[in-house]
């Protein structure tokens, strides 16, 4: 049993990390409240704040090495980030306030990718440690323990920022408008408030806070190019637990999570990450809109992407196209070289995963941001069965949909109780839990390095044979999923997607249908993951990471989520582009990020969707002409 003074110290540590979490999350929650955009790039703002600080403060120290100069440097860095937030609002966000949330999320993730590469280009890949704050470099004696003075300063910063924000929100017109817009921004506009200015101001404030959080971290944590993703997941948790849009909620949640981390590390040193996300899952299940949030009002309602609309059986053209494609796939190992075969194997795995994701999103209206969890569960299931237990490939592959399906059933049980943005955040949280387990449970999963030696059975070892296995299995799985989209089960899901209330009213058990759909999609993604693991011969945590989930989303977005076959085309297109460009350039993330943004801005219906709308426009124009002629 640790003594009391040690517990006190741990509490102080928790308070210090709560402060910095709160400062960052407050910005995220304010921006979400007003714009209804979940801004992935908030993590990039935080990272930029840190880089600005480590660049700026040493130069300012040439003037005078003092605490006021240090603090001025921190504020300047935050100010600079605030201006970048303004830029992002003017150039990007302003154009996407009306597009479905899924696309908004993706567009802001495009910014994340682009900023990451720019940071690498400007500051290089190495960590940069910031100067320590003059006057706060010493340690303070507390009950016989030494405690860094800077941490005490951080503990004070949280409540200070909360107080200043409270004043801003209650004593200025800007703040009152922000609070009003958080509740009903359309009404604020109808009362004569120029929302554009309000939104720009809000982005400035949000980015400023993220930058402030990043700059304040620099004496403790070196600026590094990975700090964006690691912080954004935590900031999401804080805002979601506190209630999205609620600043006091973010403060409360940061306090709880700070303590959970401080003490969790004593009790369960291996699973601190898991604890945080478990807390989030628990809070969302008990209070689906967070501790101090409020249920979505009708006016700020969630806009779902269009999803699969008028289903029709294939016409002759589509039949010929699909048949031709199938023929090419069957003949591929004879016509293509070995490298092409490898790429197409990967494409097929991703195609199945993407198809299963669109089964959820386009068909079910369940926007999952963590589909990589189930892909990863399948991959790890197969990999660990083969390498740790010596199970042969065939039963291991058969086990993958079961393992991933069980995982999806467990997570899905909670997920289907939510809707909209909270649902998306919960899927993200579950994916992060899965990621954390794979990352931290080193003895079993191999941690960061993963596991190698996941090879197929001897008879299937040649690339050509394995290719046919993948082709057969993924095609069969896709056909089963496709069949269920056209079956009453699929119609029911689409009915519930378009109106839960009406589906409920005619006696459909929406939750159970969605739960089954979530489980089925998870199982299919797991199968894809298993196939992928044997193709690569190894597994590692990137298969479960946020970028992997985003890749799947981009695939279905590129293909077009309102079509049944879009995801397959999207997977092929995306993976071949990535495979082609990644070795050629150091800036593939920048290119990918810009491409995602471009797609959201100019091509929101995807390749197949875009093709279909052109087709529809042409045929409408034709019909109109015909009508006029008939009338004349």
């Amino acid at each position: 049993m640790p003594d009391l003074s040690f517990l006190l110290l741990q509490t102080l540590n928790g308070l210090a990390s709560a402060s910095s979490l709160f400062i960052i999350a407050a910005g995220l929650t304010i921006v979400f409240g007003v714009t209804r955009i979940v801004n992935f790039a908030h993590g990039s703002f935080y990272m930029l704040g840190a880089y600005f600080a480590v660049t700026l403060i040493p130069r300012l120290f040439d003037i005078d090495r003092s605490f006021p100069i240090f603090f001025a440097g921190v504020l300047l860095a935050a100010l600079g980030v605030g201006l970048i937030g303004v830029l992002m609002e003017l150039v990007l966000l302003r154009r996407i306030y009306r597009v479905p949330e899924l696309f908004q999320l993706l567009a802001t993730f495009g910014v994340v990718l682009a900023v990451e590469d720019l940071v690498l280009k400007i500051w290089g890949p190495l960590d940069i440690l910031g100067p320590r704050a003059p006057g706060l470099r010493h340690a303070v004696e507390i009950l016989g323990h030494r405690f860094p003075a800077y941490e005490l300063f951080m503990i004070a910063m949280g409540p200070l920022v909360l107080g200043l924000l409270w004043l801003l929100m209650h004593k200025t017109r800007f703040g009152v408008l922000v609070r009003a817009a958080t509740q009903d921004r359309e009404m604020v506009g109808a009362l004569g408030v120029n929302q554009a200015l309000l939104f720009t101001g809000t982005l400035f404030l949000g980015a400023f806070l993220a930058g402030l959080g990043g700059a304040l971290q620099t004496p403790k944590l070196a600026a590094n190019p990975h700090m964006d993703i690691s912080i954004i997941a935590e900031a999401f948790v804080v805002t979601v637990v506190g209630g999205m849009g609620s600043v006091p909620g973010a403060f409360l949640a940061a306090l709880i999570i700070g303590q959970l981390q401080a003490f969790g590390i004593l009790i369960f040193p291996k699973i601190t990450l898991v604890l945080v996300f478990l807390l989030m899952a628990l809070v969302l299940v008990l209070r689906p809109w967070g501790l101090l949030g409020r249920p979505e009002a009708g006016h700020g309602r969630v806009v779902l992407p269009e999803g699969i609309l008028g289903l029709k059986p294939f016409g002759p053209a589509e039949r010929i196209l699909t048949g031709g494609l199938a023929l090419i796939l069957v003949l591929l190992p004879w016509v293509g070289d070995s490298y092409l075969t490898k790429v197409v194997i990967e494409v097929l795995c991703f195609a199945l995963a993407a198809f299963s994701l669109n089964f959820l999103i386009g068909n079910g209206g369940l926007v999952s941001f963590g589909h990589a969890a189930y892909f990863g569960l399948g991959a790890y299931g197969a990999g660990l069965l083969v390498t740790r237990l010596g199970v042969p490939m065939e039963p291991a592959l058969l086990a993958t949909p079961v393992i991933a399906g069980l995982g999806a059933a467990l997570f899905g049980f909670f997920v289907v109780r939510l809707s909209g943005i909270y649902l998306a955040m919960l899927t993200l949280a579950f994916a992060q839990i899965t990621y954390a387990v794979a990352f931290q449970w080193v003895e079993v999963t191999g941690g960061d390095n993963g596991v190698v030696g996941v090879w197929p059975s001897r008879w299937a070892a040649s690339r050509e044979v394995y290719y046919y296995i993948v082709l057969l299995v993924s095609a069969a799985a896709i056909l089963v999923l496709r069949r269920s989209i056209y079956a009453p089960f699929g119609y029911t899901l689409r009915g519930a997607r378009d109106s839960v209330v009406r589906a409920d009213a005619i006696g459909i058990d929406v939750r159970t249908h969605r739960w089954v759909a979530f489980t089925v999609a998870g199982a299919a993604a797991g199968l894809a993951g298993g196939l992928f693991a044997f193709a690569k011969g190894s597994i590692d945590p990137t298969l479960i990471s946020i970028p992997m989930s985003i890749d799947f989303l981009v695939m279905i977005l590129v293909g077009g989520i309102q079509t049944v076959l879009g995801p397959l085309i999207g997977a092929a297109f995306f993976h071949s582009i990535k495979d082609f460009f990644m070795p050629l350039t150091f800036y593939w993330r920048l290119l990918l990020g810009l491409a995602i943004i471009a797609i959201v801005l100019v091509f929101p219906r995807g390749i197949v969707g875009g093709f279909e709308s052109v087709k529809a426009r042409v045929s409408r124009a034709g019909a109109r002409q015909g009508g006029e002629r008939a009338g004349a």
């Binding site: 009152v176 009404m187 109808a190 006016h299």
Partner: protein, 241 residues
């Protein structure tokens, strides 16, 4: 249809649609300065959609919507509001997290410069004494009737020349309906033109000078309130349920 002279608001053949579903089919009507006009019709006839289309809250097309000499069709709602057109939504849409006073603050805009005394919270409190008593209270802790008063006061804070008032009497207790009627008459006394959508013939008759009847997204009749009250066939066809 009477047009033009002295009209502050003129809706000229306006269509509106939610997605694929067209709601309004060539709606035309006008509102003269200082006049109170009722837009009457059954549930789903297109009353609220007409007001929202004018305010820019639903996508609308057509020849024009003219307000105080500007064509406002297609403008953003905040620009329309700044020209001096106020909007009171049917479901009130009070900012329940804000205090009564803060709700008024959100509505505040500079006066258009028409020589009339600008609205201030104090002036509004003298008309709505209930609100004065709870100026510091959160709007979520108000009754429905009080919220309805607040939503009107909030719109008046913008110093409008004309107000679109959506279903002011809906779902209110009779005594509150009476207060609402007084509030509308007060606006008229202040020289503010009011276009209100209404199902309740008695309420409309108590406040309005003229009325339009809308059915299935098109104007079917225009006339004085007295005329509609006298015409049983008209009421039977378009208003009774």
């Amino acid at each position: 249809m009477s047009t033009g002279a002295g009209a502050i608001l003129e809706i000229d053949h306006v269509d509106a649609a939610y997605g694929q579903a067209q709601i309004l089919f060539g709606v035309s009507l006008n509102l003269k300065r200082g006049e109170t006009v009722a837009l009457m019709g059954r549930n789903g006839a297109g009353k609220s959609t007409t007001l929202k289309a004018v305010m820019g809250l639903v996508p609308a097309r057509g020849r024009a919507v003219r307000f105080a000499g500007h064509d406002i069709l297609g403008l953003a709602p905040y620009r329309i509001a700044r020209l001096g057109l106020g909007y009171v939504p049917e479901d009130r849409r009070i900012f329940t997290d804000l205090t009564v006073y803060e709700n008024l603050e959100v509505g505040a805009k500079a006066a258009i410069g028409n020589g009339r005394a600008a609205w201030t919270p104090d002036r509004l409190f003298s008309i709505f004494p209930n609100l004065a008593e709870m100026r510091g209270r959160r709007a979520s802790q108000m009754s429905g009737g009080e919220q309805q008063m607040l939503t009107i006061a909030r719109t008046l804070m913008g110093n409008p020349e004309a107000v679109l008032l959506d279903e002011p009497s809906e779902g209110l207790a009779p005594v509150i309906v009476e207060q609402m009627a007084e509030a509308v008459q007060r606006m008229k006394a202040e020289g503010i033109a009011v276009l209100l959508s209404e199902q309740n013939l008695y309420f409309a008759a108590a406040v309005a000078d003229r009325s339009y009847i809308i059915e299935k997204g098109a104007i079917r009749h225009e006339g004085s309130m007295a005329e509609i009250q006298a015409n049983a066939a008209l009421r039977e066809a378009y208003l009774s349920v």
